[in-house]
């Protein structure tokens, strides 16, 4: 339980820090870069290195590759729907999570089937 609380606090700090950086910059496309910051990755990998060692963290980072490709597809889809389809941001970004899930798990299966 204490470990979960610690994870929660570290993750909250990292995510808030990068989110504040995105508020700080203009133009909006540059600020948007911080939407794809490795905030959760830094918090999680840092804790994994401390508790489980670099080997465990390396396996997590290896699986992060298909997740990052899925993020690219997710953000592209969300951006297109908001700019062209003029959809509400919450609806567009929430529905696009299906794209992330399908791409991440699809690529992960292909990635690990080959590895």
């Amino acid at each position: 339980m204490l470990e979960l609380l610690f994870r929660f606090l570290v993750g909250g700090v990292f995510v808030s820090l990068f989110a504040a950086l995105s508020d700080l910059f203009k133009p909006q496309t540059f600020a948007g870069l911080f939407g794809a910051a490795p905030s959760i990755a830094l918090a999680t990998l840092g804790l994994a290195i401390l508790r489980e060692g670099p080997g465990y963290a390396a396996i997590e980072a290896h699986s992060m590759v298909p997740g990052a490709i899925a993020f690219f597809l997710y953000a592209a889809c969300a951006s297109w729907v908001m700019m062209r389809g003029r959809a509400n941001a919450l609806v567009a970004t929430s529905l696009a999570l299906i794209v992330w899930g399908a791409a991440a798990f699809g690529l992960w299966l292909a990635w690990w089937a080959r590895a």
């Binding site: 994870r7 700080l24 990998l45 840092g46 992060m64």
Partner: protein, 140 residues
């Protein structure tokens, strides 16, 4: 080409409860990634290191702030605010290439070089790749 400007008004415009939402979302997903990793192993857990955890909340805030700005100027601003949120997401598309570079760099070097240095260098590589992609997209 548009210049990068540091704008402290953006920080002031964000309300305390909005900072709280981001903290809660970030903390919750990091805790969940830990639980997923423990239950299903680091291979599945690692996928979620690139989960767009706070992206819906951030895009909604961008849309909301733009809408408030336009309405304060006496305009409707609904379509404009969605377009701005879309532009923000386009920035995240560029940033995700940096995220991919981070993942490739860290997964390759984590067991070969001192772990903390690799993480720090990975964060710098994310920034460098993202900013370079942004610059290329703005230039062409």
């Amino acid at each position: 080409m548009s210049k990068i400007v540091v704008n402290f008004d953006g920080l002031r415009r964000t309300r305390w409860h909005e900072y709280g939402i981001r903290f809660l979302a970030g903390g919750t997903i990091t805790a969940l990634v830990g639980i997923i990793g423990k239950k299903f192993g680091p291979s599945i857990g690692g996928l979620f290191l690139a989960f767009p955890a706070i992206f819906p909340a951030s895009a909604t805030l961008v849309e909301k702030h733009e809408l408030e700005k336009k309405r304060n100027s006496g305009m409707n601003g609904l379509l404009r605010s969605r377009e701005v949120a879309g532009v923000d997401a386009a920035g995240a598309v560029m940033g995700s290439l940096g995220l991919l570079a981070f993942a490739l760099f860290v997964s390759y070097l984590l067991q070969r070089e001192p772990a903390w240095q690799v993480l720090l260098a990975g964060a710098l590589i994310w920034m460098a790749v993202s900013a370079t992609v942004w610059w290329i997209c703005k230039t062409i």
